[in-house]
Every structure is written in C-alpha cells, then in structure tokens.
C-alpha cells in the first residue's frame, strides 16, 4: 500500500482510457486561459471587449473568465460609467 501511495493514477491509467473529449476540453481550457491572461496583461477589459478581441462568444468567455476569478488568476476591476460592465484584470 505504501509503495503505491501517490502513484495510484498510474494503475487506473493502465485500465482506463481517457476519452478524446476530455483531452480536447483540457486543451481548450488551457488555450483560452492563456489567451485571456495575455489579453489582460495589456489592459483591463470587460467581457464584451475580451470577447471581441479573442473571437469567443461572450457567454463562453464569461464562463472561463469567472472560472479564472474563482481560482485566483483574475480579479474584478471597476464598473464602467453606465454601470453596466465590470472590467477584469490580472490578479496582483
């Protein structure tokens, strides 16, 4: 038991194949995360601005952006003059 502790994922990997859709999902998140963080490095942006810059549908972008807020890579900035859209920036 002691020997396999910390390595049990290898045992399951021998028995279970990871579906392509799961691998694709990981690739998509990694790619989107990178592009969001790169865009926000330049300046604070709203969901709409980010969506236009990255060419992603705004609902999809919001999902990834809020996930990055949840896990501490991004933080909320200020709200615009019309009190409609918040900006988002890299977490300091």
């Amino acid at each position: 038991m002691e020997e396999k502790q910390g390595q049990t994922y290898k045992l399951l990997r021998e028995k279970r194949e990871v579906p392509e859709s799961v691998k694709e999902n990981l690739k998509k998140f990694t790619r989107t995360k990178k592009s969001i963080l790169e865009a926000l490095k330049e300046e604070e942006m709203t969901v709409r601005q980010l969506s236009q810059k990255l060419g992603l549908p705004s609902h999809e972008l919001l999902f990834y952006l809020m996930t990055l807020v949840k896990y501490g890579s991004v933080q909320t900035g200020i709200i615009d003059d019309m009190d409609e859209y918040y900006t988002y920036k890299i977490k300091a």
Partner: protein, 432 residues
Amino acid sequence: MAENFIRDSFDALVIGGGIAGGEAALNLANNGFKVILVEKDLSIGGKMIHLSKVFPTLDCSACITTPKVSEISRHPSITILTGSEVKKIVKRGENDFEAMVIKHPRYVREEDCTGCQLCEQACPVVVKDQYQYDMVGRKAAYIPFSIASPRVAAIDIENCTLCGACEKACPTKCIDFTQEATEYQLSLRTVIIATGFNLFDPLKIERFGYGKMKNVITSMQMERLLAPTRPFNTVLRPGDGKMPCRLAYVLCAGSRDITVGNPICSQICCMYSIKQAQLLMGALPMADVTIYYINIRSFGKGFEEFYDQAKGMGVNFVKGKIGMISEKENGDLILRYEDINASVVKEANHDMVILSVGLVSNPDNAAFFDRGELRLDPFNFVCQTDLLASPARTSIDGVFVAGTASGPMDIPDSILSAGAASSEAMSYIIRK
C-alpha cells in the same frame, strides 16, 4: 462490478440527506435508534443548502442548514453514506427489511482528507460546476462546494485526465484511484423515503428559449447568483456579464401546465420569486423587477404580508401569461404576453428573464421496491395512502415518506413532514 461487500444492520434507513431526510434521521437518532442515511450526492444538505435566503423571513439559508448538517454528521447514532444509491429494498416481514446500497468510489479516502483543496489547485481540468448550475467552472478534483458536508474532495472520474497532479499535491496521500464501488447489504426495521424533488427542465418549453438565449435563466440559477457563495462577483447576465437593470420573472414555468405533463401547482414558486425580487431590489437598487403571474398563491403564514412588502418595495406585478420569449442582437429579451386583465397581447423588453421553474417528482422512488409495491400518485410522487389521518404512511407498512418526495411543499412543511415520518417510524419499530 462491486468488489467489496459489507453487511450491517440498523433500525432505520433514511433515503435522502436533504432537509427532510436529515431531520427524520436526527429525530430517530435522538430517540436512541441507529440510523443509516444514504445520500446520492457528494454532500448532505439537499437543495436547501444551495439557497440564498428563505421566505418569508429572509433568514440566511446556509445559516439554518449548516448547524443542522453538522449535528447530523457528528451524531454517534447516524451513519452517513454519501455518493451512494439504494438499489433495492425487500420487505421480508414486519420490522424486517433488507436493502442493497452501492457506494460509488470517490477516489479519495474520506477519513484522511483535510479539505485543504491543494488537489483542486493542482488539477488542470475545468468543467461546468453543477453546484453553481453550470455558470462557472470547477476542477475534476474538487470539494463539491464550500459548505459541503463532508468537506472532502472527490475526483470526477468521467472528466479526469489521470495526470496525477492531484495525487502528487495531496499532503495526506488520501487520493486513491484504486477505489472501487462498495456494496452494502443492510438489515433494517423501517425505511423513510426522503428523496426530495427534481426541478422542472425548462428545455421542455422551447418557446421560452432556455438554453439558446443565455440571458434566460432558471430561478435556481438566480438563487446561486444571489447567494454569498455565488459564481460571479455580483448579479450579472450569463450572456455577456452585463449588470441587468430590467429583470422579469415568469411564474408557473413548468407548473399548472398540462402541455408539459405537470398540471399541479408547485406551491413554492410564487413565494421564492417574490423573495428573489426583494433580494434583487437590494442587490441592484436601480433595477426594475417585474413578475408575470397567473395567480399569486400567498397562502402560508406571513406570505401575504411578504407579498405586500414586495409591492411596497416597487416590484411590478403583471397578471399575464407569457406566449414566447425572443432575443435581440444585444442579448436583451422581448416577452410577448397576454395581459389577462386587459385581455390584450403585449410586448415588453427586459434584459434578463428568470423562469420560476416548478417541482417534479424524483423518478428514483419507483425503483426501490419490486413490482410497484410502493404506490405512486398520478404525478409520480410517493402516494400517501392515509393522507388525513397518517400522512407519512405509504402503501408498504413500515415504509414512510418525508418532505417533497410526497409532493411539492415549502421548507417548514418539509420539516413538519419529516417529524411526522420519524414519529410514525418509531411507533412502527416499537409496536408489538
């Protein structure tokens, strides 16, 4: 197939760890009975633990639920199986039931997990968080939600890439991918069914646009947007992150509607919508909130006053039946509705629509016993065979029903119902 096999005996099996099941289990345990509580989800607390506040008092839902959940978790006479399903129950005789329960692998040794979330930080995978109703992501190695009980990590094996990052990051080495399902064979003296309800699936009403129009959400999604542990920093439109200012509620979405197979009133939608409208007036002081209703059913203690309070705060009530919802290019929504008082068809613009979805029965109930022994009512809720004199009784002597497994009801009624079910179960156990 299950590798492990555990045989055990208890006085009572409670199926469902929501507020009704938890209350029933506590009542039994506090009276000296040994209880096993089986919950399908990864945490007990049911749907109530995910609510923002409760009506008509506007008390914090989590503040009521968490002490109760903690009491259940720590009770020496209650054994809890989360992530587990009751597969079959057989009545062998009076005070004698046998149940087969499967505990699905969590891939985490619960007793060793400290809930540190280092596995979650290490996991590279992001999928939709079902506890936030898909509005934000979660990892494949995750704590279900911040106030989950047990607060123990789980591995979503369907979405796991088996990269091993979680296992390497775990300081207590409690992640174990060799775990398999465990089968329990239980001997029992009584059974309480507290399997709760399901929310109506709004995809069944295409004209409301749910799923296609991203700013049409369900009332449960709004509960999450209003909760302290919400997915966004404030109430935002899921379509584009805009702070909404013209919100509309569509009542009876999937209730009192024979065309979707649910002709009954869900009993709670009017009041939870009024509650949410009041909370929105607080969260978004500049917002206009309109509730489109057929009838407002404010029948409970303090409900009418709560309704009046909402009107006093400026919530707009329109007696109208929604025909369809369409979307503009900017994500705003047009509601086409029949103004019932004026008998004319009108249109109104809103930037977010909340469907006050109804309650439907949990299909699990039908499968516990063979040959339809457990009778269901016409809407597939558990049939109360003696509704007036003994409302917790079912068609099987010794099997009782608690909470919304028997039909739509609010939280106080669910707790009362659980009290009745546990009392009747105790009477059944001790009677000669």
